[in-house]
Symmetry: C2
Subunit: 197 residues, 2 copies
Amino acid sequence: MAGKKVLIVYAHQEPRSLNGSLKKVAVEELSKQGCTVTVSDLYAMDFEPRTTRKDVIGALSNPEFFNYGVEAYEAFKRRCLASDITDEQKKVQEADLVIFQFPLYWFGMPAILKGWMDRVLCQGFAFDIPGFYDAGFLKHGALHFCGFKVLAPQISFAPEIASEEERKAMVASWAQRLKTIWEEEPIDCTPPWYFGQ
Amino acid sequence: MAGKKVLIVYAHQEPRSLNGSLKKVAVEELSKQGCTVTVSDLYAMDFEPRTTRKDVIGALSNPEFFNYGVEAYEAFKRRCLASDITDEQKKVQEADLVIFQFPLYWFGMPAILKGWMDRVLCQGFAFDIPGFYDAGFLKHGALHFCGFKVLAPQISFAPEIASEEERKAMVASWAQRLKTIWEEEPIDCTPPWYFGQ
C-alpha cells in the first residue's frame, strides 16, 4: 500500500539463494505498491549476534553481577544502548510491516538472526508454547510478546531438494501473497494473560 | 569416573549466575572423580557465532554460489576449516561426556551457543520433532543426528524468580546427579531411519 513502511530483516549469506530470491521479490512487489522498503541484511551488515556488556554505553546498573536482560532494559530507558541496536529498534518502530526472511533449518533461524532478536527486541523471556514447526516460538513467543500483530508464516519447504520449477513456484506464491498482504488479518496468538498481563 | 574426559560447553556472561554455579559445581564434582574436565567458555573465548565464508581457509568449492553447509563439509574433508572450529571439534571428538550449560530462555539457547552448534557440529539440517520445551530439538535434532548418545536433560526452572534456597537446591541436585552420571542409560531418540539412514 502506497506510503507504508516495510522492514525486511534478512539473514542469508548468499544473495542468489532461495532466501535471497524471496527477499528480492518482496522488495520489488512492495516497492511497486508504493511502499518504502528497508532491508536489514544481517550478514552484509556483519551484525553482531552476541549479547555482551558492549551493548551498554557507559556504566552498568550493577557492575558486580552482569544480568543482560536487566542491563539492556536499564540502558534502553537511559538511551545508552549501542547504536547498532538502536538503529534497528528505530527501523522496527517506524515500520508498518516487518518481514523476517531466513532459512528455517535446525531449530528455526540462523544465530545471526537470533542475535538480532536477542539484542533488538529484548532477550531473556521464557515461554513454553508448542508448535515449533510452524515457527510458533516466533509468533507466540518473541513477536507477540513484543507487541507485534502477527500474520501467518510463509514457509517454503525443503528448497534444497525441490526442483527449479518448484522453487520458482515458492517465489511466485510469496509475490502473489504480498499483493494482498495489507488486507490480511492477524492470526490468534497467546492471550496477554498468559504473560501475566 | 577416573580417566574420563569431559567437555563442558558453557554460554553465560556472568560467572556468578546460576549457570555459572552449575558449571562450577560440575567441574568440581567431575574433577573429584578423576575426570579431565575442559570448559569451552564461549563468552570468555569471544566465540564467533556467525557462519560465514571466513570459516573456510583458502578457495571455496563453489565461489559462484555460497552454500555454507556444502562449503563447511568440503572444507572439513580437506582439513581447511578455521582453527576455532577445528579446536572445538577436537575437544568434542576426545570427550567421553559433553555437557551443554546455557540459559533456557526464549527458544532454547543464546545465539553464541547456537553459533557453536552451527559451526562445530554442522549447520543446516532440518527436523520437525515436537517437544521443544524439554530441549527436544537439541537431543533429537542436533545431538542425536550428530552421533551423540543423549542423556536426559537437567533443567532448572525459572531461577530468576526462585528463592536463594531453591537455587541452591538446583545446584545441589545437579552435583548429586553427576555422582552417578556414568551409570545413566541414554534416552530414546528418533530412530536412524527417520533421517534416511
